[in-house]
Point group: C2
Chain length 193, copies 2
């Protein structure tokens, strides 16, 4: 149990640093200092820095599912209400972070896709799952008449999710949640109706 | 003249490395080795690495205006034809790069916005100019009846440009131009009509 706790503590501290500074700029020693764990322990739990990075992506993905993807499955709301609540909850999270950091998946994708195939494939799989969850919502919304038919549901799900990722870059640039608000207004008042 | 040439050569080599590896991961010594210039020269032309980075962003911005923004001003085409040609020309550029690299502005924004205010403000200004150019096109398209009226032209211009930046992250993840094609199809067949 103590071993699992230590491993989780290293991962949590690493996740915080990697979210802020990126993968290449996160030093193992800094993570271990913050976690209060000696260096030898690191190699007991992780093969190397790459393996550690992949664990951190899984940690982000598990949290994202628990907190945000869960909203997409809440059947007490209509499909588009769920989708809007999903993006609004994310918006509120970033607002709490003073419009910094951005999406850990988007950040690491940007930084690592050209450098490391394991990262690229893992992150692509996570994006694929999110797009599929959004596509299911759109299908449901169309089938229950909550919005007009659209030509290609999968295209639209990808377009919407990519629009969100781009809005997060703009949020960091403007140091303001306004691009996220523009995204939500445009998707729900103009795109899906 | 030789001085200007040397300065430009250092900037060009630095731009290539920074586009591929990011700002923090680009070493001055590597740039100078590639440019065949001794270290002393660097500090003759640039105050420090930050100043060099800001010059590189200007270099990208000048090239972007010369090659791509120019398309938005081509009055031989209708407004939406110009906008579609602009995104298609960018798509073709990324296709030539085997769907790697991504947008230098988006990459450096992602990496540096939380770390350096000068970078954040300069990049925000560049994004603002691009959004304004797109908003002008949308106004023209609306006024000449090429598309229906939309609620808020500035919102739509921001939403579209952010959608493009997000599609570029997805392009790197998929190592495919498909997300750019989805973006172009969705914007021109579903969003603006």
């Amino acid at each position: 149990m103590a071993g699992t706790d230590t491993k989780q503590r290293i991962i949590r501290k690493g996740a915080g640093l990697m979210h802020r500074n990126g993968y290449n700029h996160t030093g193992i020693q800094e993570v271990l200092d913050m976690a209060g764990v000696p260096k030898g322990s690191f190699y007991f739990y992780f093969k190397n820095k790459e393996d550690f990075g992949l664990h951190i992506i899984d940690f982000f993905s598990d949290n994202f599912k628990k907190i945000f993807i869960r909203i997409l499955l809440d059947e007490s709301l209509s499909p588009l209400e769920r989708l809007k609540k999903f993006f609004t909850a994310l918006r509120d999270y970033f607002n709490q972070q003073n419009c910094t950091l951005g999406c850990p998946f988007g950040n690491i994708s940007q930084e690592m896709s050209d450098q490391n195939e394991k990262f690229r494939k893992k992150l692509n799989g996570i994006f694929e799952q999110i797009r599929e969850a959004i596509a299911s919502i759109l299908l449901e919304a169309r089938d229950c008449g909550e919005m007009e038919d659209i030509r290609n549901i999968d295209d639209m799900a990808g377009f919407i999710f990519n629009g969100w990722e781009g809005a997060l870059i703009d949020m960091k640039l403007k140091r303001s949640c306004e691009p996220l608000d523009v995204f939500i207004r445009t998707v729900f008042n103009q795109l899906l109706k």
